[in-house]
């Protein structure tokens, strides 16, 4: 066990959120709730990245009053990565929700167990 668990409490929260989302993904039967679980996992990753880029007692990376000192601003790279992540997660959510709509139109249920059971009964 390392020594930084208390100092890294933000990252620890991110990890717990990640596992909550993962458990949602494993244990929920409703497809919409599964998608919500995946979105919780996404948020956990954003929180983790934001924590990685933070440097205490420094400000956001927007140049104010012409100060261009490394000591003044936090790390800008994780912010850019979070932006990428948000866009990709929006796309993935939309794709999964549209697939769910198609499944609902075909089987009239959102329960994944029921859908797979009916698939097997139909012999597919």
């Amino acid at each position: 066990m390392g020594v930084n668990l208390v100092a890294n409490y933000g990252e620890a929260v991110a990890m717990i959120l990640f596992v909550i989302g993962f458990m949602n993904l494993l244990l929920q039967k409703n497809l919409i709730k599964k998608i919500i679980g995946l979105n919780i996992m996404d948020s956990a990753v954003y929180l983790f990245l934001a924590e990685k880029g933070y440097i205490s007692s420094r400000t956001v990376p927007i140049v104010v009053n012409g100060i261009q000192d490394v000591e003044a601003y936090i790390n800008p790279i994780p912010s850019g990565l979070v932006l990428t992540g948000i866009v990709v997660s929006v796309s993935v959510s939309a794709l999964m929700l549209s697939l769910t709509i198609r499944l609902y139109r075909r089987y009239h249920t959102l329960d994944l167990d029921e859908i797979s059971m009916r698939l097997r009964k139909e012999g597919l």
Binding site: N4, A7, I62, I77, M117
Partner: protein, 318 residues
């Protein structure tokens, strides 16, 4: 000198039969093998039904979740192992976090020479006051181009999955039934809010290189304004200004401009992404070279994408 064999003796040899078979003058099976045409085996219909019944009964028995003990056991084991796995994963991740360097320390390995370069010379090289925007739209512009394409591809996939081109009158009727028609409160609110929201989105896009924000966030706000307008005034009003053709034209134009603006450097030796547009005075709206047009492109793509997602999920047609 070879001996000439009599014809009768030669006919008995294998070579003779082989050449005869090869030339096709005689089929070796005709008259030698007992042959009869195959009859189609007809299974009576009752047998087929019986077999189907049997199969169905077996399936029902196997997949009957309430009475099949093995299936119930499997479900229990699945839930138990899922919870166990999640807790093990949580423990492992927390252990890893406890071993990571402390948050907020400027000596962390992530704070190396790359962000140093971005901060110290980002303003001079890109002209953007917002270092993050300068980073994602100048140093890493290809990355952002890929993001825009991801959004575009997601929209195309949603269009493929949910677009119903057949304008069945029944379905349209159904949608119109549930659509709130001329809701006075909503319309009054929308009249005040929609212009403000869209103006705010445009402000965020145009100030992307000066203040927090940029194409993605501003585009999302404009999309939200369009969705509010649609909810208040219905499809008939939005159809006048936003159809599938509009979406295609805007997205195609924005992505093509982005692609051309950033990939011409491949044809000039792929050594530098210089736009030759004067960077202007830092802090002005018209500064920082290509970043402003690229921000507008990204904002247009994102706004159209958000609106299209909503329309597709709502009705399946523009």
């Amino acid at each position: 000198m070879s001996k000439l064999r009599p014809q009768k003796e030669y006919e008995k040899t294998g070579a003779f039969r082989f050449f005869r078979w090869l030339s096709g003058s005689k089929d070796p099976y005709v008259g030698e093998v007992e042959m009869k045409p195959q009859e189609e085996t007809i299974i009576p219909e009752s047998t087929i039904l019986e077999r189907m019944n049997e199969k169905r009964m077996m399936r029902d028995k196997i997949y009957d979740a309430e009475n099949n003990k093995k299936l119930r056991l499997f479900h229990k084991i699945y839930i138990a192992s899922a919870i166990l796995f999640s807790f093990v994963l949580a423990g492992l991740l927390l252990y890893t976090v406890s071993c990571l360097p402390p948050v907020g320390n400027s000596a962390n390995p992530a704070n190396n020479e790359v962000p140093e370069r971005y901060i110290e010379s980002g303003l001079q090289e890109t002209g953007a006051v917002n270092i993050v925007t300068g980073m994602i739209l100048d140093y890493r512009a290809f990355d952002t181009f890929g993001e825009s394409n991801v959004l575009f591809i997601a929209t195309v996939t949603v269009l493929i999955l949910l677009h119903n081109k057949k304008k069945s009158a029944k379905e349209e009727e159904n949608d119109r039934i549930y659509e709130p028609k001329n809701d006075a409160i909503l319309q009054a609110c929308a009249k005040v809010l929609v212009p403000v929201i869209i103006m705010f989105g445009i402000y965020i896009i145009l100030n992307g290189h000066l203040s927090p924000g940029g194409g993605f966030s501003g585009g999302a706000i404009i999309g939200a304004g369009l969705i509010l307008y649609l909810n208040a005034f219905g499809f008939k009003k939005t159809e006048r200004m936003f159809t599938e053709k509009t979406y295609k034209a805007i997205c195609f134009a924005a992505l093509t401009f982005y692609c051309v603006a950033k990939s011409y450097s491949f044809y000039t030796g792929a050594n530098h992404l210089d736009s030759h547009i004067p960077l202007g005075k830092a802090g002005h709206i018209l500064s920082s070279g290509l970043i402003l047009p690229l921000n507008i492109c990204v904002g247009l793509v994102v706004a159209c994408t958000m609106y299209t997602f909503y329309v597709m999920f709502r009705k399946g047609d523009f």
